[in-house]
Symmetry: C2
Subunit: 155 residues, 2 copies
DNA sequence: CCTTAGCTGATAATGACTATCACAAAATAC
DNA sequence: GTATTTTGTGATAGTCATTATCAGCTAAGG
């Protein structure tokens, strides 16, 4: 687990630099985020996962930790159409986000690594005189599994 | 107000076709949406505007009406990062949404009429085997007014 | 050791939204 | 044309994610 270890170190360093203490609760929350970095967990889900690591963490502490991590841009807080906040590791500290593919059938969220929006951003900045800092792009549709299933059902 | 009148007619027609009654509450809600079509109102804001038209409408009725209008694709329900649903007239019944420019300073939401994502969607469908039905794209940044103000403050 | 600041957990409060329920209005049955 | 079912409404209670509060804990410095 070399990669997780180094990411963990970097995050702890960032917390320390910003003057926050490295409490066990915060370490465990970061640990869960690193272990589930492919998922897009809600605060509640993170809370349950941390609690399952035999610690009695409070829900409020999870929310506070996520707030700090968001401020430090270690994670991104994302809100899809259901209005529930989900959190997403932002390892490579890029200015720009990856995009998301939200399946309308199973609700799964997949990531798109490429950005592909530079040209469009340039157009926006020129045509609308709007200074772009970031963006959120989500495609709604059917994931591989669900679209296959749909075909066989319909056929 | 020719344009509003014809839009109004079309919407009433759609409601009728779908088997919904044209109650005064529903008409007034549509009226408000048409009058404020540039804005992106929350349910609460729509409620207050309808109430100010001297009717004692209930908040629940507004929510119910917005739900119906969303089902019929007359309006779009959008959730930005604050988690509050906002509603947006979808006059031209295009498959695809316009995009949004959310100002991080004043909170204003501007619209981008062009779509510009066809090429990217094709890439997504090919590379991720994901059937795209719709998308949501929001740019976060500074609107014209706020970026000008920022410059003079910093200069 | 004592004080202070930073953290935590339990829980109350908030705020957007949804469900419920009794009543009204309209459509349909008889 | 009245009875009955359906649809819609307003008030309000309930839900659920999130935030604020507050007493107690913990670590650090004097």
């Amino acid at each position: 687990m070399k990669k997780l270890d180094s990411s963990f170190k970097i995050i702890k360093q960032k917390l320390h630099e910003a003057g926050f203490k490295l409490t066990p609760q915060r370490e465990l929350t970061v640990e869960v985020l690193l272990e589930k970095e492919k998922d897009h967990l809600s605060a509640e889900e993170i809370y349950l996962l941390v609690k399952s690591k035999n610690t009695g963490i409070g829900l409020a502490t999870v929310y506070r930790t996520l707030e700090i991590l968001t401020e430090l841009q270690i994670i991104n807080k994302l809100t899809f159409q259901d209005g529930i906040a989900r959190y997403d590791l932002n390892m490579n500290s890029e200015k720009h986000q990856h995009h998301h593919l939200l399946c309308l059938k199973c609700g799964n969220i997949e990531e798109v690594k490429q950005d592909m929006l530079f040209e469009i951003e340039k157009e926006i900045e020129r045509d609308y005189q709007f200074v772009v800092r970031d963006h959120r792009l989500t495609f709604h549709g059917l994931c591989r599994n669900c679209s296959n299933r749909q075909e066989t059902e319909e056929g």
